[in-house]
């Protein structure tokens, strides 16, 4: 049966209202403050480290994103950790709060489809994250200009913009997951706890579990072990399993985009090195090609989780 009208009728109204709510909410402000402070600390460490160690680097600005100084991790590593927190903070009560406020049936009694409500909330969440990340990006560029005194090159800007886009997709995965959980669980507290549990599992536990599981699936060959090498099958399995975590995918994509000398994100075989000039940076296009599978995986993850939330929401009873 074909539905009358557009599923996106009212989408703009929902998205704008949610965007205004997100940007003015105390929760979002606290999260943004936390991220800015942490990012500033990481940047301070990076700038200090670069001033001491780097004599000449064609990609000085990019190193602001990736260089760390113990005990602080790099700016990118901090974002990899905090972006999910921000996305979960925006999405965990997207739908269940409408149920609990008893606004859902009233809103859906207006001439809109459920599609517009869910999509509007998702787009508003993603726009909020994009605005926050863009502000952070500008902060890095600005601080780089002020403290390093070197204007960024065109390729550096392009690579850092690629970082921004991939970071938004990465945030999208967590936002979709949080929104799915907000549809599934009526209690926002339960949705938040489950989302945080998944985040901790995929960010902290999975990187430890993936190699162990890989060794069970493809036991290491002792001959490689005697040579001090990883068994290729085991290494490939470990990498494949690790890539189930969005955090790992984001880390790999960032490595390819922000470190121009990165030539591969998996095990490197000798034939792949034939003719390569070691240490030479790859052109931007080549780096993007390396990061492409990870980026597509993040987009696919976002879409799959959003569609799952959409299906569950469509089947749900509106009655509060």
């Amino acid at each position: 049966m074909r539905r009358e009208g557009s599923p996106f009728q009212g989408l703009g109204a929902v998205a704008l209202k949610e965007l205004a709510d997100n940007l003015s909410s105390a929760r979002m402000m606290v999260l943004e403050l936390l991220i800015v402070l942490t990012a500033l600390a990481a940047l301070y460490g990076a700038i200090d480290s670069l001033r001491q160690n780097t004599a000449e680097d064609p990609f000085l600005l990019l190193r602001l994103f990736t260089v760390d100084r113990a005990p602080l991790p790099s700016f990118v590593a901090i974002l990899g950790f905090l972006i999910p927190l921000m996305a979960i903070g925006l999405g965990f009560d997207a739908i269940n709060s409408e149920h609990n406020r008893r606004t859902l049936s009233r809103i859906l009694a207006q001439p809109i489809y459920r599609d517009a409500l869910l999509m509007g909330k998702f787009l508003a969440g993603l726009a909020t994250l994009a605005v926050s990340l863009a502000a952070l990006w500008l902060m890095v560029i600005g601080l780089g200009l002020i403290f390093l005194g070197v204007p960024p090159g065109g390729e550096e800007i392009a690579r850092s913009l690629a970082f921004l886009v991939i970071a938004v997709f990465y945030a999208g995965v967590w936002l979709s997951l949080a929104m799915l959980l907000s549809v599934v669980f009526r209690s926002p507290a339960t949705a938040a706890l489950v989302a945080l549990g998944i985040w901790l599992f995929l960010t902290v536990l999975w990187p430890m579990l993936a190699p162990a599981l890989a060794q069970v699936i493809a036991p290491p060959d002792p001959r490689y072990a005697m040579l001090g090498l990883d068994t290729p099958d085991t290494a490939i399995w470990a990498q494949t399993l690790a890539r189930l975590s969005p955090n790992h995918l984001f880390g790999e994509a960032m490595l390819a985009v922000l470190s121009p000398t990165t030539r591969s994100l998996g095990p490197v075989f000798l034939d792949q090195l034939r003719g390569a000039v070691m240490g030479a940076p790859l052109p931007l296009g080549q780096s993007l090609l390396i990061a492409w599978p990870q980026t597509v995986s993040l987009i696919a993850g976002t879409i799959i989780l959003f569609v799952a939330g959409y299906i569950v929401f469509q089947r749900q009873e509106v009655r509060a």
């Binding site: 049966m1 539905r3 009358e4 009208g5 009728q9 009212g10 109204a13 929902v14 209202k17 709510d21 406020r101 008893r102 606004t103 859902l104 049936s105 009233r106 809103i107 859906l108 009694a109 207006q110 001439p111 809109i112 489809y113 009873e317 509106v318 009655r319 509060a320």
Partner: protein, 330 residues
């Protein structure tokens, strides 16, 4: 009761809601079971029944907010399952315990739903101001809804229906939990909407309120409509006759004269000068004529209209009695 039984005051042209065999099942359990009813334009129709009887589910099916398992319903000539947007453009809905965004003001809450209705900015501002004035919330238009009482929230919900300029207003338990003053104010607002010709579907379990504003009622029981019609019709059907007229007069042969009035089913002499008449209609005028015609002197005339509560109580008493007797016999 079939819809055909109630078509005497309606024509197919002015019917705005028509349900035929409307059914909703959850996991094989029928919560709304093949109901039929028609509602005419401008009518105030009451859906009565205990909690869980299927009233809200019926409403949600009319709005296209829940799937229909079988049967069909037409709202303003549209099928809510196929054309929900057309239906929702013309139907205002005030849910049970209506919720608003507490952190927004009354105007902002209405502005959001007005945007969802597709109203342009100037039109939106004008309609919102008019609606808030209408429900007497103008002075708190810029206050956050968090500070509103339940009665104010209900009125704000009604303002939303006014902003929409709906042809049909569906009100689900609108006065439940309101204090008497707020209830009175709300019922007055419903009567104002009725006077403007808006069709109103009122779901409630508060019988006296339903009786005050509704032209016809449908009594729900376990997902079925077991009684439907005007209160007087239901009184005739369930109570035999619903009007009790008390006459206090002096004269000779009054009881005999009063008994001959058409529609009177019984005359009881309570005292030498007091008579209690049971009738199918309000027969006060005829009774006064009868007393005067008998050269009597009329001192007092009063009528007790049939009460929905009495009809409801008697109906369920009658339903329980045979099964109780059967159990006793067994």
């Amino acid at each position: 009761m079939s819809s055909a039984d109630n078509n005497d005051v309606k024509t197919s042209d002015n019917i705005v809601i028509a349900a035929q065999g409307l059914t909703k099942s959850y996991d094989g359990v029928r919560v709304v079971d093949a109901i039929n009813f028609d509602i005419a334009r401008g009518e105030v129709f009451g859906l009565l029944g205990p909690n869980g009887a299927g009233k809200t589910t019926t409403i949600l099916m009319m709005l296209g907010l829940t799937e229909i398992s079988s049967g069909k319903v037409s709202v303003l000539g549209h099928d809510p399952a196929r054309s929900p947007l057309r239906v929702k453009r013309k139907v205002g809905y005030l849910p049970d315990s209506v919720g608003f965004y507490d952190y927004l003001t009354a105007s902002e809450n209405l502005a959001y739903t007005a945007k969802l209705m597709g109203l342009r900015s100037a039109e939106r501002t004008h309609r919102i101001a008019a609606a808030l004035a209408r429900v007497r919330l103008s002075d708190v238009a810029d206050k956050r809804v968090a500070t509103f009482s339940r009665g104010m929230r209900q009125r704000l919900g009604l303002a939303e229906i006014i902003v929409k300029q709906a042809d049909i207003a569906i009100l689900d338990e609108p006065t439940s939990g309101l204090d008497p003053q707020a209830t009175l104010e709300f019922l007055n607002l419903i009567e104002e909407l009725k006077a403007e010709g808006i069709t109103i579907l009122l779901s409630s379990h508060l019988l006296d309120q339903v009786q005050r504003v509704c032209d016809r009622v449908a009594l729900f029981q376990s997902g079925r409509i077991v009684l439907m019609g005007a209160v007087a019709d239901l009184a005739r059907q369930v109570l035999g006759a619903g009007f009790v007229v008390e006459v206090e007069a002096e004269g000779t042969g009054l009881a005999r004269r009063l008994a001959t009035i058409p529609g009177v089913t019984n005359v009881e002499a309570v005292a030498a000068d007091r008579f209690r008449m049971t009738a199918e209609r309000d027969v006060r005028a005829d009774a006064a004529c009868a007393v005067v015609g008998a050269n009597g002197s009329l001192r007092r005339l009063s009528v007790d209209e049939p009460s929905l509560e009495a009809i409801y109580a008697r109906y369920f008493q009658d339903q329980i009695a045979p099964s109780g007797a059967a159990r006793h016999a067994a």
